[in-house]
Symmetry: C2
């Protein structure tokens, strides 16, 4: 509303020097109706009781024949930020005509000609003097406001009138370019340039987007869980997704919801659509981690798995039909829309370089595979803050050994199955250590409840029973036995390590052997073993001892491999007793996803039923899974930071929840003194910029 | 071990005047083997490195013919506490003979004769002089130790030797009687008398117990979830339980686990046995609330619902077969054992009277029905701290309207169903208000997720669909839609009130109208409406406004009915933000069951899989569902108390979790300054005594 304030001449508002400029161009034009005035007052917090000011002003007319015109100009190109004067105008017209699109506007200058406007006149050509005046004023305005301007003007019988100027809207790409250029032009300091780019918006630069020109036939709308555009044939199961993708087809996986069983299908698909779940549902989290477009909680859609169709109202989309997902808006679109992959320009690297110099927080990534690790490093990750080992087990080739381990009826059988998993895990870790070349790698030991690894469907049960040489009845009995009412608060995390110490021992061995072997090859390694779901100091003390017993011998004499042991702080009780827990921890990593779920009593997989109501009706101002809830969960984090460092001043502190890629949360982490945040690979640049902005804000 | 210390003459232990007494009877006899010495040292924390002391002592012999004997005596009756000298002896025998039970021991005196010992001599008869000496020494010992003594003696050729004296073991009934008598005899102060009774043990006084003489054939063993004895015919479903009970049969409900659907069956049964679940599983909590014997997590048993049998190893128990549960030990016993209902003597009332004068904490009860309320008042409850309204809906006659409400597809249908529930609820509350006669009644508005009210079995679905004039498919779809991954953290508590305000409005109306009507009848009423599962201050602010809007008009001008609105603090975030929440709360009631589950990430229904391992291996020293975890959950409570009272100094604070009936937790509540605890009716006397003991301990 800045521009409106500038136009307003009532004494309630300060007079700014720029108003001398308005004098230079004649007068200020205003034709506010009463509605607009009321809205303006409300927006500016002026009581209606003050009444409506009466503005008596001369009108200017762009439609007084030849020599009159009206138009819009940008001081730089709002689509890519190039420094060039850019705009459109119409001769003998009023502002509405430009906006309404009835006549094709002409380019403001020769440089601005594009396909389709070659034959049209330009203002530069037809009214060179007025054009030069406009250009000069535009430069003056940009310099005054220190930002790219969006200017509305009218020419009445050869005389130029400015109607409005304001900071222009721009794409993410343009925002980066303009900020960097303005800093190079000394109009902005580097700190100011860093603040000029909305870190959230960077996300758009990192994913392919839909061609904004293409027409959209919208089938439904869900939550924009992971940005980017996905185009492909609809499939309803992870297996079909994998099968068709192997055959070279692009597919979009459509499900009511996803589970860890669907990981291979999500990997294979271009994008994921679910009818249930929220911004941090399984589908959303995994897709963001993969950098894959995803729309969740699309209530307009109803999947019929048996008929292999999805209904959007009356519209039926069958398996194989093409759809397009816009992960940035949540639109589900019929058919195949063209996509664009934005290129990262030099300005992006410059800005990121400034950010890296300015920030105090390190930025790591959540990565489970060497591929993820490499992508994240290319985006500037300085380590892995969360490597989830369970995803490694869901691979169809491995899950059988995992299932054998779970179904083992005695320790010998279990050891036997674990022996099959050991070399596989060792290889995983080796590849990740090599990819990270000595950067710290935080590996979380097995976390999810064991029933997540077992089959639940009849057909799959038969296959697994046959493969494991057991009966379906026995398998079903074990599945039933492992069933939990509230799995999030059940037999998972370090509780598995306490009840089945051989599992964690195997994982520790795999990590240590991989570290030893990579170190032998002359590559530095810095593994950090993270024990999940600790709620009591004794759990960590006991499991640390277990891990150290296994590791000590393997790493003896390996100077290139130094291993740390720490814990995830994700249970409220752990935060409350952080002083005691710190006695056995080299580091804390705040798992704010689960910490939010437990502290808020909010299951992210179930919250879709009421969270939208909460946000809409204003009970909550923000989704606590998107930005850290500072009053509640934040207070707990601060407590844990203080208590942990009280016991161990050098305690390394990080955050590895989804919040690590959210600018507001990154800023919070900076304020409370964490050492690093860790986020999904595609969010690393966002976190880097946000961390720099936080540093600037603190200074 | 006090008595052993007394015998020990090493200089490490203080000499007590009582040793002069030993002198009086000749010498101290000792025949410790090396094992016993080692155990003694360990128990007393004396390092083994100190070596074994060599005791060279004369032996005494009770088997040196006539005039020699050995025996055991109690200064008061250990079974009921009566003040009479009580004991047994054998002529010409050593101690082992008394213990081994090869010969029937003789009564020590004439008073002690019972059926079966009429024909035997008594010590009083055969050695009157020695008997009088023993009696005199016994009195002296009791006076010295200020407690009932258990004395071992040997008579060698007419000379009396005391081998040992110690505070005697006693039943709960005897403990109460002895404490009261000793105080009346001025051997103890009233404060000391209060501390002499283990509050836990009172539980035994309040439930029927199995005849300890009866022989037990044990089928299996589970967790002793709710004390008392239950005898009846095995049934496998709540419906059959109800049916048979109506026909006058005593039944024991046996299930893998129970759910709210089973409530009517639990009410109907004498006791409950489950094969799954822990001390705070649904079955355990509900059974304790009902004061009904219950054994849970009986891993030895396997229920086959279809065959209607339960296997205990190779043993098969069929529907209708009799079994007996010992809720105090966890024993499942074949057949029907005789039970005894202990009578509460005058001493109990005296002790409780002293406790009531001494305690600062109020004691309320958790009661959902007028019957519960009356039982609790008879046990001394000073109000209802938790009246769960959902249990009222599970009644088969009402659940249909509840289901209609849940399945309503629009607000009008929902209002229609709620209109049917309103008069029913009003009647419930009226009856409870009348039973409590002006004592405070805290009513929790609807808390559980709605799917708990819907049928899940095929047959039941068909019945419900027919009754509600809908299709099974539609019903099944709604059930599926309401399914939650982690229902504890799902769409429940005040979230129902936010998304379906008409439900809470109906409940508030029912409460207010009941209060108005009872007040009109001249009876005072003090309802307190409690909003559950609040995690954010705005939830409470909004729902308080909703409730007040409904209530204001109804209660206008009713001087006898003052209504308060407060919240349950059961979500960690609520404790953390208690200062803001207190702005809309007249009271806080700590729901430590859920608070423990969330703060500890510990689902009580699932914890049975690993909690036993934790307790056995010493990772945890106690089950946090039994006694409040002071370091974790306790720290959170203290924080909430401080923050809540900071905002509102007069804030009333209570606790209504299962912990309200646990002496250690009651003591904690006293220390942190709560106003009251609330527990199941049968635990009210325990809480009263524990509260008094806490007061004594603090002074």
């Amino acid at each position: 509303m800045q521009e409106l304030v500038e136009q307003h001449t009532g004494r309630a508002f300060p007079q700014k020097p720029i108003e001398q400029l308005w004098g230079a161009v004649g007068a200020v034009f205003s034709s506010w109706g009463n509605d607009r005035a009321v809205r303006y007052r409300r927006l500016n917090g002026i009581s209606d009781a003050l009444g409506t000011a009466v503005n008596v002003q001369a009108m200017v007319f762009g439609n007084m024949g030849e020599g009159s015109a009206t138009g819009v100009a940008f001081t730089r190109d709002p689509s890519d930020g190039t420094k060039r004067f850019y705009g459109e105008y119409l001769e003998n017209a009023q502002g509405e005509d430009v906006v309404a699109g009835i006549r094709t506007p002409c380019p403001i200058n020769e440089e601005g000609r594009t396909r389709g406007t070659e034959h049209l006149p330009s203002l530069e050509q037809t009214m060179p003097k007025v054009y030069r005046q406009l250009l000069r004023l535009a430069k003056q305005l940009e310099k005054h406001y220190r930002d790219m301007q969006d200017i509305e003007f009218t020419i009445q019988q050869g005389r130029l009138w400015l109607l409005q100027t304001r900071s222009g809207k721009r794409t993410a790409r343009a925002a980066v370019q303009i900020a960097v250029d303005l800093a190079k032009e000394r109009l902005l300091s580097r700190d100011e340039a860093l603040l000029r780019v909305d870190a959230h918006e960077l996300d758009r630069l990192l994913h392919p987007i839909l061609d904004p020109q293409a027409e959209r036939r919208i089938l439904g709308r869900g939550l924009p869980a992971s940005p980017g555009a996905a185009v492909g044939a609809v499939v309803f199961s992870a297996d079909v997704a994998e099968e068709r993708a192997r055959a070279g087809e692009k597919v979009v996986l459509v499900r009511a919801e996803t589970s860890p069983d669907d990981i291979h299908g999500m990997h294979a698909a271009e994008g994921v659509l679910t009818t249930r779940g929220g911004m941090t549902s399984h589908a959303a989290v995994v897709a963001r981690g993969m950098g894959k477009p995803c729309i969740v909680g699309c209530g307009d859609a109803r999947v019929d798995d048996e008929a292999r169709v999805v209904h959007f109202g009356d519209e039926v989309v069958r398996e194989g039909d093409r759809i397009t997902l816009d992960g940035g808006t949540g639109d589900v679109i019929a058919g195949e829309l063209p996509t664009i992959l934005p290129e990262l320009g030099g300005a992006f690297d410059v800005l990121m370089g400034w950010a890296d110099k300015r920030r105090r927080l390190s930025v790591r990534t959540n990565a489970d595979t060497p591929e993820d690790a490499r992508v994240a490093r290319s985006f500037g990750a300085e380590g892995i803050g969360l490597c989830r080992t369970e995803h490694m087990f869901f691979d169809p080739a491995r899950v059988l050994a995992m299932r054998e381990m779970i179904l083992a009826s005695n320790a010998a059988q279990r050891e036997n199955a674990l022996a099959k998993l050991l070399p596989v895990q060792r290889k995983d870790f080796e590849a990740i250590f090599r990819a990270m070349e000595g950067l710290p790698v935080t590996i979380r030991l097995l976390d999810p409840p064991l029933h997540e690894f077992l089959p639940h469907k009849e057909q799959e049960m038969r296959e697994v029973a046959a493969a494991l040489d057991t009966s379906v009845a026995e398998l079903r009995a074990r599945v039933a036995e492992l069933h939990e009412f509230n799995p999030m608060l059940g037999h998972r995390g370090c509780r598995l390590g306490i009840t089945f110490p051989e599992i964690y021992a195997m994982q520790a061995r795999a990590i240590a052997e991989a570290a030893r072997d990579v170190a032998k090859a002359g590559i530095r390694v810095a593994p950090e073993i993270m024990i999940p779901l600790v709620s009591h100091p004794k759990e960590l003390a006991r499991l640390r001892a277990l891990v150290e017993d296994v590791v000590r011998e393997i790493l003896a004499g390996s100077r290139r491999a130094a291993l740390k042991v720490g814990t995830m702080i994700e249970v409220p009780r752990a935060a409350l007793t952080a002083d005691a827990i710190a006695e056995s921890a080299d580091f804390f990593s705040f798992g704010t996803n689960d910490l939010t779920q437990m502290t808020y009593a909010l299951s992210r997989d179930d919250a879709a039923k009421f969270l939208p109501d909460y946000l809409e009706s204003g009970v909550l101002e923000q989704d606590p899974f998107v930005s850290i809830d500072e009053e509640g969960i934040g207070a707990l984090l601060e407590m844990a930071v203080e208590r942990g460092r009280h016991t161990r001043p050098g305690l390394k502190l990080g955050l590895c929840g989804e919040h690590g890629g959210d600018p507001a949360s990154v800023s919070f982490c900076d304020r409370i003194g964490l050492d690093y945040v860790s986020c999904s690979p595609y969010r690393v640049p966002i976190a880097r910029l946000a961390a720099a902005q936080a540093s600037v804000a603190r200074s």
